[in-house]
């Protein structure tokens, strides 16, 4: 699904933030990506959706080398990936239900109201369908973002510090949703520095833990 071979990336004016990254995200796997703040977790996820391009190496997403993708192809790639960010972003003037429906609209598919209702129920937000995003709490925003991320049934779910602003109970609730997605066959990659979250997840699902340290990717399973 995602293949990285000796990938490196550095922002303009700086050295390589990531280098020698080789990784394969097989279908149906569950990965955690951890590391200290500023280690490059978010950058790693942005590389996966071609929001950034590797400065060296090769990154293949869904069988396509991202370096050769045009803008429309990148848009298509992103419709195959569900992304949940720490600061979940919405169109604040549209109700939650319409925000969740946006990927459907963009893909040209008919809006499936039943799917939206089911998703809202799944993330326990039926009562917030008409609410505007600014009225949501942090946990509600994250769950709504997750609902939007999976509306098109993407093959890959990327979550960047999804529990960063949430209390423990809400974090567990969100983790449960991610685990359910993985059990239904989705590939899940969660970037987090919350080791307790990872430990809790490992009790529910077979997850591989990766750590970014010194710009390199290491397996961190033994520490957990």
């Amino acid at each position: 699904m995602i293949e990285m071979r000796d990938v490196a990336f550095g922002y303009r004016g700086g050295g390589d933030l990531l280098h020698d990254i080789s990784l394969s995200l097989p279908r149906g796997s569950f990965h955690f990506l951890t590391g200290p703040s500023g280690s490059g977790k978010t950058t790693f996820l942005r590389l996966c959706i071609a929001d950034l391009l590797p400065t060296a190496g090769k990154l293949v997403a869904f069988g396509q080398d991202v370096a050769g993708l045009g803008r429309d192809a990148i848009a298509s790639l992103r419709r195959r990936v569900g992304v949940v960010q720490q600061d979940a972003q919405f169109l604040d003037h549209l109700p939650v239900a319409e925000n969740i429906a946006l990927p459907m609209v963009l893909s040209g598919e008919p809006v499936d109201m039943q799917a939206i209702r089911d998703l809202l129920a799944w993330v326990q937000m039926t009562g917030h369908a008409r609410a505007l995003p600014p009225a949501l709490s942090g946990g509600e925003r994250q769950r709504a973002a997750l609902a939007r991320a999976v509306i098109l049934s993407p093959d890959l779910i990327l979550a960047d510090e999804p529990t960063g602003n949430l209390d423990w109970d809400m974090s567990m609730r969100l983790l449960q949703l991610l685990v359910e997605l993985n059990r239904s066959g989705k590939t899940v990659l969660v970037a987090t520095h919350d080791l307790n979250l990872i430990r809790a997840a490992k009790q529910q699902v077979s997850a591989r833990v990766l750590r970014i340290a010194g710009g390199r990717l290491q397996s961190a399973g033994a520490e957990l």
């Binding site: 429906a101 129920a121 039926t126």
Partner: protein, 341 residues
Amino acid sequence: MSADHIPNDEIPNGDAKDARAPDPAPATAPRQRQARTDLRALDLRTLGRALIGRQAGIADRIVPPSGATARLTMFTAGVMAFLAVFALALALATGRLADRWAEGLAQTLTIRVSAPAAELDAQTAAVMAALATIPGVEAARELPADEVGALLEPWFGPDVPVDALPIPRLIEVRQSAGFDAQALRLRLAGEAPGAVLDDHTEWRRPLIGAAARLRILGWLSLGLIAAASAAMLTLAAQAALAANGQVIRVMRLIGARDLTIATAFVRRFTRRAAGGAAVGTLAGMAAIAALPDMQAAGGFLTGLGFAGWGWLWPLLVPVIGAALGFAATRAAALRMLRGLR
């Protein structure tokens, strides 16, 4: 249901209880993902839909409403259209004026016979005889004394004693196809040396030149109005795009194509430009129609405005306004989006 609009009454309300469970099947069941492309290309079809499309849908609603900006854009487009209608009226009127002067004066010429009193009748008769044999002369007549007196009246007042003054005889000639002014001059030089042919060229040329320049000025004004409108719309679109950076980022994040995002802005600005221009055009046409009676206003203003089918020309202004809004916003949107991944 349409693919790009969720009616408000279909949004689940808050009374329903949250479902217990997590069978994400409806959401996560594999869906046949067709390689259906987002066909909101920014072409003439989109322009048409932007103007007359009934359902805006989410493609339009992704851009937050912006009341003050919308009103200002429409107001400016309306003012520009109002001015454009006047510039168009000026261009068309001066064109007609130039044509009328050119045609009217080119069809007639005057022969002035100046000679000692004893020879005046003979030379006038010689001129008339020559005119009778020159091809291309449709009619020729000697102006009678009362008409000559009328011509002199503005300078000498009424009751001019024409007979007592050494006034040359005037012969008005109406020409038709095949008339050769040079041949007539040569005949007159031999048969009536006191006769001078005036084909009005000397004073017709500057008049036509002035009218032509006015016409150019009118069209230039139209061009400047169009350019100013395009600049204004570009600025407004850029401001809207800059103010909606989050919207654009979110849309790109969830897989929106550039054209989809740009279309939302293009559609909105095209409609604003078209709507404002339509109102401005109607106001301009009404103002033109309400101008004072042209005959009473004096010779220069004769014909300022639109005539007959010419009233259809201003109706192009809103269409051109929409096209300008379309092109300016499209360029601004695509330029900005190219800066994002």
